[in-house]
């Protein structure tokens, strides 16, 4: 269709490009017929210039001021015609007051990246040292948004049915042992989809993939001599662009297509994608940090500032994004909508999400508008929203994160209580009963349900599972901070020797403890999350904060898979078991009563004596039975399941609850036994001779299934 409003009205001073007033929305750079619409807002800037570069060139080829008539409200906008946008990088010069006490830090000499940049160059290949003389390090590019999704659609798997697998894009396949063609990239993950399916997970949670600077704070480790980098990437340069260095095609500027292709292929294989998003701070740091974008465009809009103009640091990373400022709130909403709609992302995990609930003075709010907006947003309507419900400023909201029935939480109490129980601490049974049921003590309010609890024992932050059973304390010397970084509250136990050992007894116990952890995680109500590599006993040699380790400490060593087949087998069968049994995946909490007439309550508690759990402090044994007739609120028939957990160091007999006469108990798993007797295929459980008592080994978990007698 012919449009009359697409004719140039002006020519830039150099005479090379024709211009006209643009449209203020959408913000950013948008391809329009014949040209590109640029739109950027600043509350306090007095003027703005568009700076145009050819890709990788240090000097701009054209600088075009936004004419006064090209400003609408606080938005600078114009269409530039005849651009070769395949080869274009652009930025802005913003002029305005430099009055730090007032919150303004304009510097008209800095080229600033578009906050809405959909593609960002400058770190195209991971770890390739940039030209530090380049005044424009992170360079906005024009993005094609015409990816062919081939009928793909977000999977909308019910959250209670998810088994989340947390991974780092680079760390997952960078190790030479991964055997992939393009290590450390989106394509590398794609090559491992068959592995993910064999393991059985149906959701991957990617640690930050927004553009960040791996060279931020790069330095040499004083202990290992290795280069330390910002490996994890919890420090956004841009919110709308995927990390180019995570794409094998980043050097061709095709990271957007590669990332989308990965998502499409994961979806084809029934695997959802959750992104770990970092809206609590940016890579600009405090007043000593670089000008990348936000500081030079609208410092006092984007950041929480102290009354004298310094940066609040609730993130522990130098600055704090001003999330409940309406402008920033809209940017975050635009960003999430973009990833949900244009990238088909299935959900988001919000890093240090409690910051998102602080007001513009930093005080926690009762009903934070941003969190409410996200909970009710129509575009995000089917996305999972998961909060890391604390921040570095001391706010801890596990169980009390403002949720509107939509938000789930990383359940830090689940992690801590499971670990304490696992290592044999006393007085844990009451807490464990809560954790196994989806933490009703935390989430039974306001209709949140069991799946408000994202259950995990390990995550990127902290020990791997193998290290949790191999180290009493952290060993972060390689991080170059005198072992003072990383959590001291690990609730770990080394099983008798600190670190690697050839002692077969210790190694046997460690393997059993890992199986115990997997078993308890995967029979707990709530949504389980597994740290990638735990299924093959991946180690970081005791480093519980590997944020800066772009090397073997962080990369998954795939050779371990061959050495730890028994553990992998256990994990994959436990996952299959969970997926086969809806009784393990309730959306709502148990009612502790029989509401279907089965003769059994939905959950019952047992111990050495059936029907009579011993809750005393020194006891470390607990068992529970889930009545299969109550699966999914009584809407589906499933087998009944009995789980006995003996975290005492001696063997004990557990009296079994009696099933209906036509049913009998079958053994699905017994962590005290070695392969192949430790776990069975779903449906091939072994009939139990003694239906009245089971001898549960020391520090062991037993899982039984009630089935028809043969």
């Amino acid at each position: 269709m012919f449009r009359v409003d697409l004719h140039p009205t002006h020519v830039c001073d150099c005479g090379k490009f024709r211009l006209r007033v643009g449209k203020p929305l959408p913000f950013g750079a948008t391809i329009v017929p014949g040209g590109v619409n640029f739109s950027v807002y600043s509350h306090s800037a007095v003027s703005c210039k568009l700076v145009l570069f050819n890709k990788h060139e240090i000097k701009p080829f054209c600088v075009i001021p936004f004419k006064d008539e090209f400003k609408i409200g606080n938005v600078f906008t114009m269409v530039v015609f005849d651009l070769d946008y395949d080869n274009l990088e652009y930025g802005f010069y913003m002029d305005g007051p430099f009055e730090p006490r007032e919150g303004n830090r304009f510097d008209k000499t800095k080229v600033l990246m578009d906050p809405y940049a959909k593609s960002i160059g400058g770190r195209d290949v991971w770890g390739q040292a940039p030209d530090w003389n380049d005044m424009y390090q992170h360079r906005a590019r024009i993005c094609f948004d015409d990816f062919d999704w081939e009928n793909d659609h977000p999977l909308e798997t019910p959250i209670e049915d998810l088994i989340i697998y947390e991974m780092h894009v680079r760390g997952f396949s960078q190790h030479p042992s991964s055997g992939v063609k393009h290590p450390g990239t989106f394509s590398g993950i794609r090559e491992k989809i068959a592995y993910l399916k064999e393991l059985g997970v149906n959701c991957v949670e990617l640690m930050p993939i927004h553009e960040f600077d791996e060279f931020e704070n790069s330095r040499v480790s004083p202990t290992t001599g290795k280069m330390l980098m910002n490996y994890w990437g919890y420090s956004n340069v841009g919110f709308f662009a995927p990390k180019a260095g995570f794409a094998a095609t980043g050097k061709f500027g095709m990271q957007v297509d590669e990332c989308k292709t990965l998502i499409r292929e994961l979806h084809k294989n029934g695997i959802e994608v959750i992104l770990d998003v970092v809206f609590n701070h940016t890579a600009e740091g405090n007043e000593k940090g670089p000008y990348i974008s936000y500081r030079g465009i609208d410092n006092k809009i984007y950041y929480l500032l102290t009354p004298d103009g310094y940066y609040f640091n609730f993130s522990g990373c130098g600055n704090t994004l001003n999330c409940n400022n309406p402008i920033v709130r809209n940017m975050i909403l635009d960003c999430l909508r973009y990833w949900a709609a244009d990238y088909h992302i299935d959900g988001f995990r919000f890093d240090l999400a409690s910051i998102l609930g602080r007001d513009q003075n930093g005080a926690p709010m009762h009903s934070p508008p941003l969190l409410e907006t996200l909970a009710f947003d129509p575009v995000l309507g089917k996305c999972k929203l998961i909060a890391e419900a604390w921040d570095a400023g001391g706010l801890y909201q596990v169980g009390s994160f403002p949720a509107w029935g939509r938000w789930a939480e990383w359940n830090g109490k689940y992690r801590d209580d499971l670990r304490k129980f696992l290592k044999g601490e006393p007085a844990m049974l009451g807490a464990m009963a809560q954790r196994l049921q989806g933490s009703p003590d935390l989430y039974q309010w306001e209709g949140r349900g069991a799946c408000a609890s994202i259950n995990f024992i390990t995550a990127h932050d902290g020990f791997t599972l193998k290290d949790m059973v191999s180290y009493d304390g952290k060993h972060n010397e390689a991080n170059g901070e005198n072992n003072s970084d990383g959590s001291n509250d690990n609730y770990s136990w080394n099983c008798g020797w600190e670190g690697e050992t050839s002692d077969p007894e210790i190694n046997r116990l460690r393997l059993k403890q890992m199986k115990n952890a997997a078993a308890m995680l995967l029979v707990s109500q709530g949504t389980p999350m597994i740290l990638s590599g735990d299924e093959m006993a991946n180690t970081q040699w005791g480093n519980n904060n590997s944020y800066c380790q772009d090397n073997e400490i962080s990369w998954i060593d795939w050779k371990l898979l061959n050495n730890n087949r028994e553990l992998f087998n256990f994990f994959s069968k436990m996952i299959a078991f969970r997926r086969a049994h809806p009784v393990l995946r309730s959306r709502n909490h148990f009612q502790n009563r029989d509401y279907v007439g089965s003769g059994y309550a939905d959950i019952t508690w047992h111990g050495q004596k059936a029907w009579d759990a011993d809750w005393s402090e020194e006891n470390r044994m607990l068992a529970f039975m889930l009545c299969g007739r109550h699966a999914k609120g009584g809407t589906i028939k499933d087998n009944s399941i009995y789980v006995a957990m003996n975290m005492h160091w001696q063997m004990h007999g557990f009296e079994l609850p009696k099933l209906h006469d036509r049913m009998s108990w079958h053994v699905f798993a017994n962590t005290d036994a070695a392969r192949p007797y430790d776990i069975w295929d779903v449906g091939k459980e072994i009939s139990l001779q003694n239906q009245t008592e089971f001898l549960v080994g020391p520090r062991s978990v037993v899982i039984l299934v009630g089935k028809d007698k043969k």
């Binding site: 395949d86 080869n87 062919d148 990239t185 989308k260 292709t261």
Partner: protein
């Protein structure tokens, strides 16, 4: 970039040499899109094409889609390993049948005819 068009065995063969990128894609588009006709068998040979940018790949895809809605077909031949690899990683390869050489592509077309 240079484009040469010939016909052979009922197929239109387009040989692209040089670099198909943001600078040249408009030129290529003007030469390729107007000649697409319904039920056409088109073969684009990239043996002498040293580089295809994101915009270049999009042009190929657009042509393939246009042809497929008109009952035609677009085949590619002579891709170097790097272009093949990029197309694979960015999902473009899903939409094309590729062949090592022009004769191999023509043979496949003949078989299907």
């Amino acid at each position: 970039m240079e484009i040469k068009t010939t016909t052979q065995g009922g197929a239109t063969i387009i040989k692209i040499s040089g670099s198909l990128d943001g600078n040249t894609v408009n030129d290529a588009q003007e030469k390729i899109l107007p000649i697409l006709t319904s039920k056409m068998s088109m073969l684009i040979d990239l043996k002498d094409c040293s580089y295809i940018s994101s915009a270049g790949l999009r042009l190929l895809l657009m042509a393939a889609k246009q042809l497929s809605t008109q009952g035609g077909i677009l085949l590619l031949s002579g891709l170097c390993d790097e272009i093949k690899d990029v197309m694979e990683m960015t999902g473009f390869s899903n939409f094309f049948r590729t062949f090592d050489s022009i004769p191999a592509a023509l043979k496949a077309l003949e078989k299907e005819a």
